[in-house]
């Protein structure tokens, strides 16, 4: 089915081709059948807000396609991006389990397909299917790991330069580029969004990038960034 956003909607989890590659979705047949009965397949345009920080939990959102920006907000309006969620991730999990308010705001970065499950249905599903319960524990562990990493990166780095260098090294190590002499990475975020990931201003990020380019540590070609001098970037990441 062709939708207005160019999204190919996967209506049924039972026939989903990518299911086996995704930690949460790879459920035994009985659990999957039950899951199929309680989920709602929905499509969202870019920029849609799935849930807002502080809102009472309605349920969980399984991200099938597209990326979602997860952020927290200070009372003065300053935003911090905690993570960019990729397909296969379950959002709103801890709030739905504990019944506490959503601790993050989730906003789509692309047109997305999201499977929504109501909180009561989800809790019943967890009680009935121990395999699913186990997978939820795994997902939560991964999120916890990410949150601790975030605290470490934000709390123990001195300067914005140190944080940006760390972020670029982290991205460059993701898609098999880590072993290359000059790793390439696609900058899928704006300077504003990168600033929100490392807790600084857009102007600082632009200035830092200009500085990195001037010192020939990185080179940009359109939205592709080439790390020319990995050793220098590493040094920046540890010393700021």
């Amino acid at each position: 089915m062709l939708s207005p956003y160019g999204l190919d909607i996967i209506e049924s989890c039972l026939t989903c081709k990518v299911r086996a590659d995704r930690i949460f979705c790879d459920l035994p047949a009985a659990a999957l059948q039950c899951f199929e009965g309680i989920k709602y397949a929905t499509a969202y345009p870019k920029g849609a807000v799935l849930f807002v920080e502080g809102q009472a939990p309605r349920g969980i959102f399984v991200l099938c396609k597209g990326r979602v920006k997860l952020s927290i907000c200070a009372s003065d309006g300053k935003t911090l991006i905690v993570k960019i969620a990729e397909p296969g991730e379950v959002l709103g999990l801890s709030a739905s389990v504990s019944g506490k308010a959503y601790e993050l705001t989730a906003e789509t970065l692309d047109p997305c397909q999201v499977n929504f499950i109501k909180r009561e249905d989800f809790l019943r599903f967890l009680r009935d299917h121990s395999e699913a319960c186990f997978k939820v524990a795994e997902q939560l562990s991964e999120k916890y790991n990410n949150a601790c990493h975030e605290v470490r990166a934000l709390g123990l780095s001195h300067s914005a330069g140190e944080k940006l260098a760390n972020l670029l090294l982290e991205w460059s190590s993701k898609n098999g580029e880590a072993t290359k002499q000059e790793p390439r990475l696609k900058l899928a975020l704006t300077h504003e969004e990168i600033a929100q990931m490392i807790g600084t201003s857009r102007e600082t990020v632009t200035r830092l990038f200009a500085d990195l380019r001037k010192r020939q540590i990185v080179q940009s070609k359109g939205s592709t960034l080439v790390i020319r001098n990995k050793a220098a970037l590493r040094l920046l990441a540890t010393n700021g």
């Binding site: 907000c73 009680r127 319960c133 540890t238």
Partner: protein, 164 residues
């Protein structure tokens, strides 16, 4: 005064007040079989950040400090946990390294369960698995609070209002 800690969970008086420990008799008996109880001195490190998880530590008494350490050796305390808390749960479930360092702040009794035995126990006892999901959710809430405090807490110096 709190009663002395028991080496067997089934005889523990505080059990019902503690989220993880409040299991059915059946599950508790199985848990008693797989856990080993030790007394640790103040200052003992239960596990270090980046170490592969061997198992979980269930704090029967005392307090433990959880901290993150940067490559350059700087340390930031994530939180202080008290009796009844389970430590090392997320690393154990994901099979990855510990994301924090846990250090004893008091002399206290700690029960330890090896990773392999814990995973088997959780698969056999659904209620324990549900408890674990709840505990992880709570840990995550606290971790995000820390992210908020650390990432957004720094206030910019406010310039004094110009005097007219």
């Amino acid at each position: 005064m709190e009663s002395a800690p028991q080496s067997r969970c089934i005889n523990c008086a505080q059990r019902s007040d503690r989220f993880f420990c409040d299991l059915s008799a059946d599950a508790l008996q199985a848990f008693d079989q797989i856990k080993s109880v030790s007394h640790y001195q103040r200052g003992t490190v239960l596990f270090r950040q980046d170490e592969i998880a061997r198992g979980i530590f269930l704090l029967c008494q005392g307090r433990v400090k959880l901290s993150v350490i940067s490559d350059s050796g700087k340390r930031l305390t994530l939180r202080i946990v008290g009796p009844g808390e389970v430590l090392g749960l997320s690393a154990c479930l994901s099979g990855g390294p510990h994301e924090v360092t846990a250090e004893m702040m008091d002399d206290a009794q700690v029960a330890m369960v090896k990773r392999k035995e814990l995973l088997l126990f959780l698969r056999q006892h659904r209620e324990a698995c549900l408890h674990v999901v709840h505990l992880l959710s709570q840990d995550l809430h606290i971790a995000y609070d820390r992210v908020r405090a650390v990432g957004l807490g720094r206030t910019r110096r406010v310039r004094p209002e110009p005097v007219h």
